[in-house]
C-alpha cells in the first residue's frame, strides 16, 4: 500500500486533508532524523487506506481562430485564447478488501467562461481474485477501446485530444456506466481479451444514445431508452504484445463499439478500431531515456441514421441513410535525453457526404509538433504548435503551452 506523501490544499476535500494530516503527524512522534535507522511506525502506515493524488493542467496560448472551441473540440483541450484550466483531477484508490480494488476520479475544471464544473469521471471496482485469469471492472470508467481513450489527459503526449477520437467518442471520450470482463489468455506472449457492456445512454456515449450525437446527423433526440439487452453498448477488444528484441516492444489491438444510436428506433452505430504501439528503449536507459515510441490508431464508424425531421426545421425531412466516417492519427515520440521529449502527431479525419452537413464530419488534417520538459515525474511543461487544415473552412495556426503538476500519491505508468 502506498502512502500519500504530500499536502493538497483542496478546501473541497477538507476531510481528506484531515486524514492526511494525521498521516503526516504520526511519524513525528517516532522522531526519526534523516540518517538514523528506524522502522516507520505501523500506525503511520495504517492511517491511510487509500492513495490520494491531485493533478492539474494549466494551458496558455493563442490561435488564429478566434472561436477556439470550433477548433479545439476536446473537453480537456485549451479552449480560449489566453489561459485555461481544462482539467484537474482528484484521484483516490486503494484496496477495498481482499476481493476488490476501488478507484475514483473526480474532475474539477473551468470552462471557457471561467465557471467551475465538477464531474465524476470514473468510479469503479476491480476484482482481484477471480479464477481462470478473469477480471471484472464495474462502475463508471473510460471504455477500453483502443489506446488513448482509457488514458487520462495528464498521460497524453499532446496538449489536445486526437481528432479521430474526438469525432467518434466526443469531447470527453467514451465512458459510461457498466462492466468489463477481461481474460488474460494463457498464450506465451501477452494477449488479453475484453468485453465491455455499458449503458448506451448518457452525455459521454457520443455516437450512441448521447444528447450530443444529433450534431452528427441533425436529427431529433427521440428520448433515449433501453428496451432490451440489445440496447446496451457492447465493446469487445483484443490486444497482444510481443518483445521484438530485448529493447523493442510491439503492442497491437483491435476494438469495436456496437450499440444503438438516438436517430430513431433500431438505428445502430458500429465503430471499429485498430491500434498499434511500438517502443524502443536501450538496455542502459537513464531514467527511461532515450527512447522512441510510435503510436497509431485508426477508427471507422458506420452510423445508421433513421428517417427523421431536422432538429432546427421540422419541415425538412432527413432520409434514412448510413453515415460513414474514418480517421487516424499517428504520434511519434523521441525521448532525446532525460526528461526531454520531442513529439510529432499527424491527424487525418474524413466523412462521406450526407443530407445533413455537419462540421463534425468534414475532412480535416492537423499536424502537431511539440516538445515537453519534465522537470521531475511530478511536473511538466509542454510547448505545441498545431497546423490545422479544415478543408471546408481554411487553415489555422495555434500555439499552446501546457503546465502540469501532480500532488500526492506517486502515479505509476502503464505501458
Amino acid at each position: 500500500m502506498r502512502l500519500l506523501a504530500t499536502t493538497t490544499n483542496l478546501s473541497v476535500a477538507a476531510m481528506l486533508c484531515a486524514a492526511q494530516l494525521t498521516a503526516q503527524q504520526t511519524p513525528d512522534t517516532t522522531a526519526t532524523t534523516p540518517g538514523t535507522v528506524q522502522q516507520p511506525s505501523a500506525t503511520a502506515r495504517a492511517a491511510m487506506y487509500m492513495n490520494i493524488g491531485f493533478t492539474a493542467l494549466v494551458d496558455a496560448g493563442w490561435s488564429t481562430e478566434p472561436d477556439v472551441p470550433s477548433l479545439q473540440l476536446g473537453d480537456h483541450d485549451p479552449r480560449v485564447r489566453g489561459f485555461t484550466i481544462p482539467n484537474t483531477e482528484l484521484t483516490l484508490d486503494g484496496a477495498v478488501d481482499p476481493y476488490f480494488k476501488g478507484f475514483s476520479n473526480i474532475v474539477f475544471k473551468l470552462d471557457e467562461g471561467g465557471e467551475t464544473g465538477v464531474e465524476l469521471e470514473e468510479a469503479y471496482l476491480l476484482t482481484t481474485s477471480l479464477p481462470a485469469n478473469l477480471q471484472l471492472k464495474l462502475g463508471q470508467f473510460f471504455t477500453e477501446f483502443g489506446r488513448q481513450n482509457p488514458q487520462h489527459p495528464h498521460s497524453w503526449a499532446f496538449v489536445d485530444q486526437p481528432l479521430v477520437l474526438n469525432r467518434m467518442f466526443g469531447p470527453e471520450g467514451l465512458r459510461s456506466q457498466g462492466m468489463r470482463l477481461s481474460w488474460l489468455a494463457p498464450t506465451p506472449f501477452y494477449t488479453e481479451a475484453m468485453l465491455g457492456v455499458m449503458n448506451s445512454v448518457g452525455g459521454t456515449t457520443f455516437s450512441f444514445q448521447s444528447e450530443e450525437s444529433p450534431e452528427i446527423h441533425g436529427g431529433v433526440v427521440p428520448g433515449p431508452a433501453v428496451e432490451s439487452p440489445g440496447d446496451m453498448l457492447i465493446v469487445p477488444r483484443i490486444v497482444s504484445s510481443f518483445e521484438l528484441t530485448g529493447t523493442q516492444t510491439l503492442l497491437f489491438g483491435v476494438s469495436a463499439a456496437l450499440g444503438p444510436n438516438n436517430s430513431g428506433p433500431s438505428a445502430r452505430t458500429r465503430i471499429f478500431g485498430v491500434d498499434a504501439y511500438y517502443k524502443w528503449k536501450p538496455a542502459a536507459a537513464q531514467q527511461g531515456f532515450p527512447f522512441v515510441s510510435l503510436q497509431v490508431e485508426g477508427l471507422a464508424r458506420r452510423y445508421e441514421a433513421a428517417e427523421r425531421e431536422a432538429a432546427e426545421d421540422a419541415s425538412i425531412l432527413l432520409p434514412n441513410e448510413t453515415l460513414r466516417d474514418r480517421g487516424w492519427y499517428g504520434q511519434l515520440l523521441y525521448g532525446i535525453r532525460p526528461r526531454i521529449v520531442a513529439g510529432l502527431r499527424a491527424d487525418v479525419v474524413s466523412g462521406d457526404e450526407a443530407s445533413f452537413a455537419s462540421e463534425l464530419r468534414t475532412d480535416r488534417f492537423r499536424l502537431s509538433p511539440n516538445v515537453t520538459w519534465y522537470p521531475t515525474e511530478f511536473s511538466k511543461i509542454r510547448l505545441q504548435y498545431n497546423y490545422d487544415d479544415r478543408k471546408s473552412v481554411g487553415t489555422d495556426h495555434s500555439v499552446w503551452m501546457q503546465f502540469e503538476f501532480l500532488l500526492g500519491a506517486h502515479a505509476s505508468h502503464k505501458f
Partner: protein, 307 residues
C-alpha cells in the same frame, strides 16, 4: 470458417495450453523485480526454482517500463520478490493489477517484500517533494550491505518453504550455506576496504548509503542535488569544491547514470570515475551476488589505493 477448421484450431490451441502448463509445472516459478533479488533467489532456490528478473541489470530499477510481457511473467509466477520501500512504485502496481495472480497477492505466501525486516536508512520525518523524490519508507538501495542480503535471503527461504514445502529442506540447507559464505566473504570484503576507512566517495544518486555505512566510508556528495533531480551546474560547482577540499578521489557511476557528468566533475577534481553496478550482470563476469560484491569491493579498493 467451416466447422472442421474450427475444431482443428481449437485442438491446436488446447495442445498449446497443455504444453505451456506441463513444461513449467515442476519447478517453483520465481519472479524478482531486479537482478540482485533474482541472484539471491537462485542462491536459495538452487535447482528447485526457475528465476526471472523483470528489470535488466543495466536498467534503473526506479524507471522500468511496465511491459505487457511482464504481465504474462507475473501471471504465471508462484513467488514474486520485490525490493519494497517504493522502489518499484512507478511501474509494478499496474502490472500486478493486470496479472490477476492471487499466489503473489500482497498478503500471500508467494509475495516476498525484501525491505521487510531491514533496518531502513533515511526514513523521512516529513513528506516534502521539494526535497526530491524521497521514498517515504526509506532508502531502498539496501541490498549492497551483505548483512541486509542475509535478512533478505532468510525472508526468501521462509517464503519458498511455504510456497513449496516439498523442497523446504533444500531451501534451509541453501540458506545455511549462503549465510556461511556471506560471513566468510564479508570478512574478506571488510579486509579489502579496511585500509580506506573514512575515505570520502562521491556517488551519482543516493544509492551507496548502506554500502558506505557497512564498510566505514563516507559519501561526501551526490552529483544529483536531490534524489531523482538532474545535476545542475551550481550544484556540481559546489560538489567540485567539496571534493577538492576533502581530497575525494572517486566518483561511483552505475550503467544507467550519466557518466559524462561524472567525467566533467572528475576532470576538474582529479578524481576517477568508477564504473560500478549494484546489479549482477551489469558488469562483465558478475553473475552472482558474490561476483557483484567482489567486483564492487575490488574495483573500489583498487581505485582508493590509487591503482
Amino acid at each position: 470458417m467451416n466447422k472442421l477448421t474450427a475444431i482443428k484450431l481449437a485442438t491446436v490451441a488446447l495442445i498449446a495450453l497443455a504444453g505451456t502448463a506441463a513444461s513449467s509445472a515442476a519447478r517453483l516459478r520465481v519472479v524478482a523485480t531486479t537482478p540482485d533479488l533474482a541472484a539471491l533467489a537462485r542462491e536459495i532456490g538452487g535447482s528447485a526454482v526457475e528465476v526471472t528478473a523483470l528489470a535488466k541489470p543495466t536498467e534503473d530499477p526506479h524507471y522500468v517500463d511496465a511491459k505487457p510481457s511482464h504481465i504474462v511473467t507475473l501471471n504465471r509466477a508462484d513467488v514474486l520478490i520485490e525490493g519494497g520501500a517504493e522502489l518499484e512504485l512507478g511501474w509494478l502496481p499496474p502490472l500486478l493489477e493486470s496479472a490477476r495472480n492471487s499466489k503473489i497477492g500482497s498478503t500471500a505466501p508467494g509475495r516476498v517484500v525484501a525491505s521487510q525486516g531491514i533496518r531502513m536508512a533515511e526514513i523521512p520525518t516529513t513528506f516534502d517533494r521539494s526535497r526530491g523524490d524521497v521514498h517515504s519508507l526509506g532508502n531502498p538501495h539496501f541490498l549492497i550491505d551483505p548483512l541486509s542480503a542475509k535478512v533478505v535471503a532468510a525472508n526468501i527461504a521462509t517464503h519458498f518453504a511455504q510456497a513449496d514445502p516439498a523442497s523446504a529442506a533444500l531451501y534451509r540447507a541453501n540458506l545455511a550455506s549462503f549465510m556461511a559464505r556471506i560471513d566468510a566473504k564479508l570478512r574478506q570484503w571488510e579486509g579489502q576496504l579496511a585500509p580506506f576507512r573514512g575515505a570520502k566517495i562521491v556517488t551519482y544518486h543516493k544509492d551507496f548509503v548502506y554500502f558506505a555505512s557497512r564498510f566505514g566510508l563516507e559519501v561526501l556528495e551526490t552529483l544529483e542535488p536531490k534524489p531523482g533531480i538532474a545535476p545542475s551546474p551550481a550544484h556540481l560547482a559546489q560538489v567540485i569544491g567539496a571534493m577538492k577540499a576533502a581530497n575525494a578521489r572517486v566518483i561511483l557511476v552505475q550503467p544507467y547514470q550519466n557518466r559524462r557528468t561524472a567525467e566533467t566533475v572528475a576532470r576538474q577534481t582529479g578524481a576517477r570515475v568508477l564504473d560500478i553496478a549494484q546489479q549482477p550482470g551489469a558488469r562483465r563476469n558478475t553473475t552472482t551476488y558474490f561476483d557483484m560484491m567482489d567486483y564492487m569491493v575490488t574495483t573500489l579498493a583498487t581505485a582508493l589505493r590509487g591503482g
